[in-house]
Symmetry: C2
Subunit: 238 residues, 2 copies
Amino acid sequence: MPLSRQLSSSRIRDDGRGIPDATVARLPIYHRVLRSLADDAVHTISSDHLAQRCGVSPAKLRKDLSHLGSYGTRGVGYEVDFLSYHISRELGLSQPWGVVIVGVGNLGHALVSYKGFASRGFEIVGLLDSHPDVVGEKVCAGETDLVVQPMAELEKVVSSSNASIAVIATPADAAQKVCDRLVAAGVRSILNFAPTVLSVPVGVEVRKVDLAVELQILAFHEQRRVDDLTPLAQVMQA
Amino acid sequence: MPLSRQLSSSRIRDDGRGIPDATVARLPIYHRVLRSLADDAVHTISSDHLAQRCGVSPAKLRKDLSHLGSYGTRGVGYEVDFLSYHISRELGLSQPWGVVIVGVGNLGHALVSYKGFASRGFEIVGLLDSHPDVVGEKVCAGETDLVVQPMAELEKVVSSSNASIAVIATPADAAQKVCDRLVAAGVRSILNFAPTVLSVPVGVEVRKVDLAVELQILAFHEQRRVDDLTPLAQVMQA
DNA sequence: TAGATTGTTAATCGATTAACAATC
DNA sequence: TAGATTGTTAATCGATTAACAATC
């Protein structure tokens, strides 16, 4: 990784209270756009231009970056590689993370074959499913092929693969039990695709992606749009 | 739908400024949990219990619900069916919404076969892909089978199916062009799975699900956990 | 009535924004 | 130096929380 500035190994954390959640959630976007700029041989970029490509305001971008340290140059902008490196380090992408996927149905298959994982430093190191038809199936995951293991092997797979992140892609009714076993096996970061509220001990980080919820939020806005177009109802109420 | 109270048809919106985004994002969760309670023949529930099942604080739940109107009974709690109905109406789930999916790769297939859509009032009414191998494929979507249409048919499919929501599940480099065509065809609610920042005219609502971003946020927390466990580095800095 | 629980208030917290001094 | 752009400040905005009056 060619970096034209000396890389400091110290990690600057603004006020010691850490980086705000809202900022952390945007860092991956900045990082992806910066990598893409680097591919296009762009070496320097201003907060105005970078912000536009990331879909945020320049003020927000600069505020976000200020939490990581002072990696820009006044009057010039940000060095793409330099900033990209510091974001990736802050995000923990400088080391690879092992991921176990539990539930290899349609969604699980899609996740395994998703190239965005491997390219961003995640390695799928285990696949688990309870269905006999799926267990034993060889699934192509990046460079290596993986064989779907039976659910009984969960603890073994987690510990032997040293996975630190687990993805739950099971039906809703299986999710909590799977979650409990993952936590007991030492996993403390979980990405949950099952439409269930998981309960976990403190210290375990759960993120949730609910496809139906996303559509329902869109439906809400779509409906409000329809309502606004028909002010008749409002007139009738008044 | 059995409701033991008279259903008012007026829509109460607290202060006229609408429901806060953060609240809207949680309404689908409340709704799902309420439906599940109804299935278990639970007729009444307090904010404390409902909040626990939804993974939020009771104060937050009551505040959220207060934006919809006053649908509880002091000293008693909420009637499950009554509250569920009002949330679903607010979310726009009382009418079905047509969804077009563009990009029928692994993820697209997973989305089509996802039962959570149909069960929540969404109907997949069109599938589009640019790849000749996929075009023409018959995909089972709920009750009816759908045939994957070539990308050239996008405008025709959107208008003839009266789809109001589109899902983009294409590779990143195709997403913006697809988005432009969808918007031109009249779609104003888009769920984007491509790792790209889409630019759309004002009035178009875009929601984004980025699987890699979710993992990266988990990686951040995972790394911070490792850092905290090794205070040696901090000692050495001091 | 007494006990329970909602809906609302007011305080706090965190995130966003605009403006500008610092500085390359 | 003059022009450009960052990093920071202070104000604003929105979301969360705890407490409690209203009321079933």
